[in-house]
C-alpha cells in the first residue's frame, strides 16, 4: 500500500484550473521530487495534499485512509509534516522555544496545565535530538527571526521533524539560498531521508538538487501531470524538455 495516493485531484479558482486531474502514488521510504515551470500548479498541489484547501474534485489517501475532507491540522497529526516556500517559524522565539512548542504539540501535551519532571525531561531530550539532527545545536538560544535564511529553513524543518512525521513535504527547500546553504540543506535532507527512512516529497527548481536527491520525479505543467519516472527517464523525455524550453511538444 502506498503511503500517499492522490486520485485524480483537481483544483479550480474560479475559471482558473490550477490543478487538473493529477494522480500520484508515493511509496514508503521514497524521495520524490515534483518539478515544473512557474505556474505549473506545484504549490497548489501541495496545498491539496496537506489540506490547505479542499480539492474541487478527486481524493487524497494517506496511510490507507481517505483524508480528502480532513482539516490541515488533522492531517498533520496523522503524520504529514510540511515546510513552506517562505519559512513559517515563530520569529520572536528562540530556536529552542520554536522546537519546544513543536514537541509539546506533537506529543499531545498542548493542553497540559503542568509538565511533570519526567515529561519535561522527555521534551528536553526530544528537542536536543532534533537540534543535533539538524545541526542547530549551537544556535538553539538565538532568536529564530535573526537567523540566516538557511538556518530559518533548517529551523522550520526541525520543527516539522519534532512532530515525528511519516511524510515530509518540502516546498522549495533551497529557494533563494546561496551555494553553501543549498549544499548544507541538501545534505540535511539526504541525511534525514537515509537515517530515518523518512518519505519525502519536495518541490524544487534547482535541477542539480532534484537529480541529486530524487528517487523518482513527477513533472507538472500548466496544472497537468506531464510525466513521471526515474531521473534518467525524465531527463530524456522530449515533452519535459519542450515544457522547460517553451517549445511545442
Amino acid at each position: 500500500m502506498s503511503l500517499l495516493e492522490v486520485r485524480s485531484a483537481s483544483k479550480n479558482f474560479g475559471s482558473l484550473m490550477a490543478v487538473r486531474q493529477v494522480s500520484l502514488r508515493v511509496e514508503r521510504g521514497e524521495m520524490r521530487a515534483i518539478i515544473g515551470p512557474n505556474g505549473a500548479g506545484k504549490t497548489t498541489f501541495f496545498n491539496l495534499i496537506t489540506g490547505f484547501f479542499p480539492p474541487t474534485e478527486g481524493e487524497i489517501w494517506f496511510g490507507g485512509r481517505d483524508v480528502t475532507r480532513l482539516s490541515a491540522q488533522r492531517r498533520v497529526s496523522l503524520g504529514m509534516g510540511r515546510s513552506f516556500q517562505v519559512a513559517e517559524i515563530f520569529p520572536e522565539l528562540t530556536v529552542r522555544e520554536n522546537l519546544r512548542i513543536a514537541v509539546e504539540v506533537g506529543r499531545g501535551l498542548a493542553l497540559r496545565p503542568w509538565l511533570g519532571r519526567a515529561k519535561a525531561r522527555l521534551v528536553r531530550q526530544a528537542i536536543d535530538e532534533v537540534l543535533a539532527a539538524t545541526g542547530l545545536t549551537t544556535k538553539a538560544a538565538r532568536l529564530a527571526g535573526e537567523l540566516t535564511h538557511g538556518d530559518q529553513r533548517a529551523t522550520e524543518i526541525a520543527m516539522v521533524l519534532a512532530l515525528r512525521p511519516r511524510l515530509l513535504l518540502l516546498d522549495e527547500p533551497t529557494a533563494g539560498m546561496a551555494e553553501q546553504e543549498t549544499y548544507d540543506t541538501v545534505a540535511l535532507i539526504r541525511r534525514l531521508h537515509r537515517m530515518n527512512r523518512l518519505t519525502v516529497i519536495l518541490i524544487e527548481h534547482d535541477m542539480r538538487v532534484v537529480f541529486h536527491l530524487a528517487d523518482r520525479i513527477t513533472v507538472l505543467d500548466r496544472g497537468r501531470l506531464l510525466a513521471e519516472g526515474l531521473p534518467d527517464e525524465i531527463a530524456a523525455n522530449p515533452a519535459v524538455q519542450a515544457a522547460y524550453l517553451g517549445e511545442p511538444a
Binding site: T50, A72, Q73, R74, V76, S77, G81, R82, F84, E88, I89, F90, P91, E92, L93, T94, E97, R100, I101, A102, E104, V105, G106, L109, A110, L111, R112, P113, W114, L115, L143, G145, E146, E156, M159, V160, L163
Partner: protein
C-alpha cells in the same frame, strides 16, 4: 500583530528569572494600599475600583495580548458577572462568596458558549460579533424591569459579612477589610492566569499569536485553543464584574454596554498588552484620572482619550512597556 524582531515573545509571560523583583514590588504595593493610598491623596475604595477594573483588563488581555484576538464585547461577561452576583444576593442568598461564584459562572459560561460560535472568525469580524453579543445582554438588562431594575440598575442588595465558623469578617462596612477581600480574589484569578500561561497551553497561545499558519501546521487545533483562551478571559471578566457589583452594592446596565468594553480595551492597550501586568497599570491610571478629572469637568473622557492617543503614538508598547524596555535581549 507581529512585533519587531529582537523582542522575545516569551518575555510577555508573567514568570521569568529577571521579573520576580518587579512582581514582588507590585504585590508589596498592593498589600500596603490602605497605608499609602490615603497618604497619596486617594481613598481605599478607589484602589478597589482600580483593582477590579484591572482584573477585567487583565482578563481581556489573556485573549488580546497572548493570542492577538480582539474582543470589543467583554463588558457583556463583566456585566453578567455583576448581575449574577447582584441577583443572587437580592433574591436567593445572603452569602457573598456564593454570589461571587454565581456571577463568575454566569458570565464565564455565557462567554464559553458564545465563544464556541465565533472562534472561526478573525479580526474585525470577530470584534463585530463580540459587540453584538454584548448589546443583546445590555438590552435584556435594560428592558427586563421586573428582574433587573431596567434603566435604574439592580439595587436593593448589599454584600454580606464573610462568616468563617463563629468568626465573622466584616467586609460589609469596613473598607479596608473589603479591599483585602478584593485583593485575595484578584490574587487567585491572576495566579490562575499566570499558571495557565506558563504551561504548554500558554506557549500554544503565543504560537498562534506569532504565526497562526505554522501553529496549524504543527497540528495544533487553533480554534479550540482560541476558544479556551476566550473562555478563560470571560471567566476572569465575570469574576471582576461580580466583584464590581459587590464593591458598589449595585449592578448598572452600563456594565454590560459596549462603551465599557471599549474602556477595558483602552486600559489593556494603554497599560501594555504585551505584558501580563500592564492592563492593571492601565486600569489604575484610567480610574485615578477619571476620579480626579471628573471632579473638575464632565468632559473627563476627552482627557483620557487624549492620553490614550499619546500613549499609542509614542509608546506603542504601553505604559508598562516603557518600564519593561531592556537593552539587548
Amino acid at each position: 500583530m507581529s512585533t519587531a524582531i529582537g523582542e522575545r515573545a516569551l518575555d510577555r509571560l508573567p514568570v521569568s528569572r529577571y521579573k520576580w523583583p518587579g512582581t514582588a514590588l507590585l504585590w508589596l504595593a498592593l498589600l500596603m494600599v490602605p497605608l499609602w493610598v490615603p497618604w497619596a491623596g486617594g481613598y481605599v475604595e478607589l484602589a478597589g475600583r482600580a483593582l477590579v477594573l484591572g482584573l477585567a483588563a487583565m482578563g481581556l488581555n489573556f485573549l488580546l495580548g497572548f493570542t492577538g484576538v480582539m474582543s470589543f464585547g467583554h463588558a457583556a461577561y463583566f456585566g453578567l458577572g455583576a448581575y449574577g452576583a447582584g441577583l443572587m444576593l437580592k433574591y436567593v442568598t445572603g452569602s457573598t462568596l456564593l454570589a461571587l461564584f454565581t456571577g463568575t459562572l454566569l458570565g464565564g459560561l455565557a462567554g464559553t458558549i458564545l465563544g464556541a460560535l465565533i472562534v472561526r472568525r478573525r479580526g474585525v469580524y470577530f470584534a463585530m460579533v463580540t459587540i453584538a453579543y454584548g448589546q443583546i445582554f445590555f438590552y435584556i438588562a435594560y428592558r427586563w424591569n421586573s428582574l433587573t431594575g431596567g434603566d435604574d440598575g439592580l439595587r436593593g442588595f448589599a454584600r454580606q459579612p464573610l462568616g468563617v465558623g463563629s468568626w465573622v469578617i466584616n467586609i460589609q462596612n469596613n473598607a479596608t477589610l473589603f479591599y483585602y477581600f478584593l485583593l485575595a480574589v484578584f490574587a487567585i484569578a491572576t495566579g490562575a492566569m499566570a499558571f495557565r500561561l506558563c504551561s504548554p497551553f500558554g506557549r500554544t497561545l503565543i504560537a498562534i499569536l506569532e504565526n497562526e499558519r505554522r501553529a496549524r501546521y504543527l497540528g495544533l487545533p487553533v480554534e479550540r485553543h482560541i476558544w479556551l483562551a476566550f473562555s478563560v478571559s470571560c471567566f476572569v471578566c465575570a469574576t471582576a464584574g461580580a466583584l464590581y457589583a459587590l464593591l458598589n452594592n449595585f449592578a448598572d446596565p452600563m456594565t454590560l454596554h459596549y462603551s465599557l468594553s471599549g474602556e477595558i480595551v483602552i486600559m489593556a492597550v494603554m497599560g501594555g498588552m504585551r505584558t501580563f501586568w500592564g492592563p492593571l497599570l492601565g486600569a489604575a491610571v484610567f480610574v485615578v484620572l477619571q476620579d480626579y478629572i471628573s471632579s473638575i469637568t464632565v468632559n473627563w473622557m476627552s482627557f483620557i482619550g487624549l492620553l490614550f492617543v499619546l500613549v499609542v503614538l509614542f509608546f506603542p508598547r504601553g505604559l508598562l512597556g516603557i518600564l519593561g524596555q531592556r537593552g539587548a535581549p
